[in-house]
Symmetry: C2
Subunit: 212 residues, 2 copies
Amino acid sequence: MDDLETQLQRFFPRLEPALRAELLQEATLKDLPEGEFIIRTGQYLKSSILLLNGLLKVYRQDEEGHEFLLYFLEPGHACALSMLCAVREEQSEISAQAVTPAQVLLVPMHVAERWLTKYPSWHMFVIGTYRERFEELLQTLDAVAFTSLDERLLFYLRKNQQFKGNQLRISHQQIAMELNSSREVISRLLKKLEQRGVLTLHRNFIELHQPA
Amino acid sequence: MDDLETQLQRFFPRLEPALRAELLQEATLKDLPEGEFIIRTGQYLKSSILLLNGLLKVYRQDEEGHEFLLYFLEPGHACALSMLCAVREEQSEISAQAVTPAQVLLVPMHVAERWLTKYPSWHMFVIGTYRERFEELLQTLDAVAFTSLDERLLFYLRKNQQFKGNQLRISHQQIAMELNSSREVISRLLKKLEQRGVLTLHRNFIELHQPA
DNA sequence: ACAGTTCTGTGACTTTTGTCACTGTGATGG
DNA sequence: CCATCACAGTGACAAAAGTCACAGAACTGT
């Protein structure tokens, strides 16, 4: 693993050098083991989160514990929600979890706030972050509103493939949760996809074919 | 109707006076008759949109013409999407339409951009706009993901009630479109709601009871 | 090797939504 | 006064998804 400064430069090239220097000063580096939560529903946040390494998944939960995947976060991106919540000093309405071991930078809210006027590039970065998340959210909404479960399942698998490769170690139960469905249904749909030759089912993992 | 300056002050009190003055200079005022589009899917936008008067609805459309209501926009608010699209110089992926006669201010993109660094209050306003729309979008997503059609229908009616009063002049077809369902289903569900005493069905309009 | 656990497969059934086909009814405009 | 039209109601059926109940397969630790 590179040193922090190199990583910053690699993943956040658009932040001006002075800002990157101050980031090193002000932000806290945090390592997340796989599965660790960085945000939990109902939690108060006081920092913005920048992702340096690994993969985070951001999802919503309702009162009865149903989950719902919103989007993945890759290195070089930031969690728009963390900025939202931080600004409003409100409870977060979402959860974020490390899918792989991950490294994040935590920028205290008051610092992030100050940078908005101090560094134009920070400002653009924040705006850009909102924009990107907004668009991903729209995509997700489209998927839910306009497509059936089997299409969404395929989309979900492809997305995971993109980040984790062809061998997905996910249980049907997991998938069901994230798509807000039930295990049996997912099992059946996966079976259909297997028959169509899209994938092969194994115990504890799913093998996706043709990355296309 | 008040003069423009008074309206600005009333609906956008948080914008600094100098900015309000410049708004009067740089922005174009536009009157929208009921039903007029201000954004259409596929259109290129070159302005940010601030709403002065009336009610706009913002919705998504898929390729086959299905609609999907995202949220309403009230006076004093701005369309986050218009800012998104404007910045990216991309095609808009949504439509916005005047539900009642409305008045909007159009701020050319390059001006809006310039203000970001020039006026802190503009900057905060833009951030705030993203934040609010983001949260509304999350709400909508929740509704779709976690609740059944009849709940969504009720929610939809309440929302309309909030803006348009107890007598809703909407056809079942209209509702079906906006909830991405079909007329027959909506008819049936409305019937059920009537039996539960929530509303009374009339020709061409629906009467909602207990504003609660 | 065995009990316990997790993951997966499956049949039968229900509920929810969507679709089709048709009817009725009020409004509007020649 | 009648043709037309948009709107609404409804029964019958189909499709999609969720639920229930079980069974078997693989993995775990002791």
